[in-house]
């Protein structure tokens, strides 16, 4: 008799615990607008999407309005990169007073190999590069992933 009673008690308890869980599910079912967590991604890409400022999307070489950058081609970023993503191609240029000077020729960035660890930004002594919060980076050709970051005609910003 006792075991039967305990069994029935357990069944009642099981139903009660099930109900308390299902009530929560039912609450969410009847209040669909209480907390909307779904992002309507391709539709909201220009409106409500929120990409944080610091999001590490891709490395960019910052240029100012005069098309000048701060990169001195010291290759510290190239050494800091764990994957060999960065290639700095520099050229020797002779200045007016006859001295030879190293200037940046091409800042080659292979996006396909980048892990967005931001070690290059950390290593840069001139703060010439930053992480941009862009995220739609897919391209049709693999060769398009290899980018030259310095704009054509850009030159080193003179220290004032």
């Amino acid at each position: 008799m006792k075991t039967v009673l305990r069994y029935l008690q357990e069944v009642a308890l099981a139903f009660r615990s099930l109900w308390s869980g299902l009530r929560l599910t039912l609450y969410f079912f009847t209040h669909p607008r209480k907390e909307i967590i779904t992002e309507q991604y391709p539709e909201n890409r220009t409106t409500s999407i929120n990409i944080p400022e610091r999001f590490a999307g891709e490395v960019v070489l910052t240029h100012d309005e005069n098309n000048e950058h701060k990169c001195t081609a010291c290759t510290l970023c190239e050494m800091a990169c764990p994957n060999g993503t960065i290639k700095i191609i520099s050229a020797q240029v002779e200045t007016e007073d006859g001295k030879k000077k190293k200037v940046l020729d091409k800042w080659v960035y292979n996006l396909g190999m980048c892990t967005f660890c931001a070690q290059c930004i950390d290593a840069c002594p001139q703060n010439a590069i930053t992480m941009k919060n862009s995220f739609e980076l897919s391209v049709y050709n693999r060769s398009d992933l290899i980018k030259t970051l310095n704009k054509p005609g850009s030159k080193l910003k003179e220290k004032s």
Binding site: G21, I37, M79, P82, F116, A118
Partner: protein, 375 residues
């Protein structure tokens, strides 16, 4: 074996057969193959096969500098990426005897505890899904997302952050960090109450876990289990208590222990650990120290020749980083003692003799992350 007696009539005789669970099985949470020998539904033997996701992280560190190799450790236990980075950074700092600023220490602890929260929330969802409930999986991901948003805003990445670095942290946190966290923690507390209503109080769920996968205390010690898996067997092994690092010694928190030894005890320990993590973060939020977030370090780190060991408590147990340096800028050898590898050893002894249906339940509560096993 009991039915393999040849004196029995032929139709009552059984024979053992081998079932491969994985490497592509949803409940192994990764590419782990369990070779299970079954007699009917009873498990006779389990042999885990590793190496499907071996990337050679330990070997790769030997050709990278110290700063560069830390980013690789995020890929071991990807659910506790911050804590893995912290372990490596602490080992390097120990070797160089660098004093980390107080603010950096506080940020590190907050990030590590948030990471523990995300990991346990994900575990809660996947654990319930392994048992057969689908909704909790989505709820777990929903709540993890709120914390990942904080990570994304402050560190720039969501999963493999590479935020904790030798000497401190990469960037200072945002000015709105403290207020963001305060609103988040209120939310997370509500979520935890939801978890309890949905799953913890559910009799069916409890019956699936109670008495399943019993790992006795002696066995947990001899197998080298750590973390919540061992603490649910009554083994007091919290590295944050016994070998405090980064200022855990100043904080007040409980080590969650349970003597239940079964899967249900492991579930309860993890649920309680989430509340404890919230409590730790709350202590730090009100008086987050001001000042530097990073000590000055050289661009290329060179460790003095010698051997260095640092242990931390990840979401799954004790992670040990062992660095052998020969004085150059690259480690001579870097060895990781990962928690999941030793916790995996518990899968065989706790499941032999049990039914195959319970294998999923006990696997779910051990909470294995396969890339952490293989590295």
């Amino acid at each position: 074996m009991e039915n393999q007696d040849i004196s029995l009539p032929l139709e009552e005789q059984t024979e053992e057969f081998v079932v491969n669970i994985g490497p592509q099985h949803p409940s192994t949470h990764g590419v782990l193959r369990l070779e299970a020998t079954l007699d009917g539904e009873t498990i006779k033997d389990i042999l885990p096969h590793l190496g499907y996701i071996h990337r050679g992280i330990e070997k790769m560190t030997e050709s990278l500098g110290y700063k560069q190799s830390i980013y690789l450790t995020s890929r071991m236990d990807y659910l506790s990426a911050h804590i893995n980075n912290q372990a490596c950074s602490l080992a390097v700092e120990k070797a160089l005897q660098v004093e980390v600023p107080e603010r950096a220490k506080a940020i590190r602890i907050i990030m590590a505890e948030l990471q523990r929260l995300t990991s346990h929330e994900l575990w809660w969802g996947s654990c319930a899904m392994d048992i057969g409930a689908v909704t909790p999986f989505f709820l777990g991901f929903r709540d993890r997302e709120r914390i990942l948003e904080i990570f994304e805003a402050n560190t720039g990445n969501r999963l493999t952050m590479n935020y904790i670095t030798p000497g401190g942290v990469m960037q200072d946190v945002l000015p709105s960090f403290v207020s963001d966290l305060k609103t988040l923690l209120v939310k997370v507390k509500g979520y935890l109450a939801e978890y309890d209503t949905l799953i913890t109080g559910n009799i069916i769920f409890q019956r699936r876990l109670q008495g399943v996968g019993v790992l006795p205390k002696e066995m947990a010690i001899s197998l080298g289990c750590t973390g919540p898996t061992a603490r649910a067997s009554g083994v007091s092994c919290d590295v944050r208590k016994y070998h405090p690092y980064d200022g855990y010694e100043k904080l007040e928190f409980k080590e969650i222990l349970n003597d239940g030894c079964d899967s249900w005890a492991r579930y309860l320990v993890r649920m309680e650990e989430m509340r404890e993590s919230i409590y730790i973060i709350e202590q730090l939020l009100d008086n987050l120290p001001e000042g530097e977030y990073r000590a000055k370090m050289k661009g290329v780190i060179k460790l003095p020749a010698g051997e260095y060991y640092q242990r931390v408590e990840t979401a799954r147990g004790e992670l040990g980083v062992y660095i052998v340096s020969d004085g150059t800028n690259k480690p001579y050898r870097m060895k990781f003692r990962t928690p999941c590898y030793s916790n995996l050893a518990a899968v065989k002894p706790i499941n032999v003799g049990a039914k195959i249906g319970d294998l999923m339940a006990s696997m779910a509560t051990i909470d294995l992350v396969i890339p952490d096993i293989d590295r």
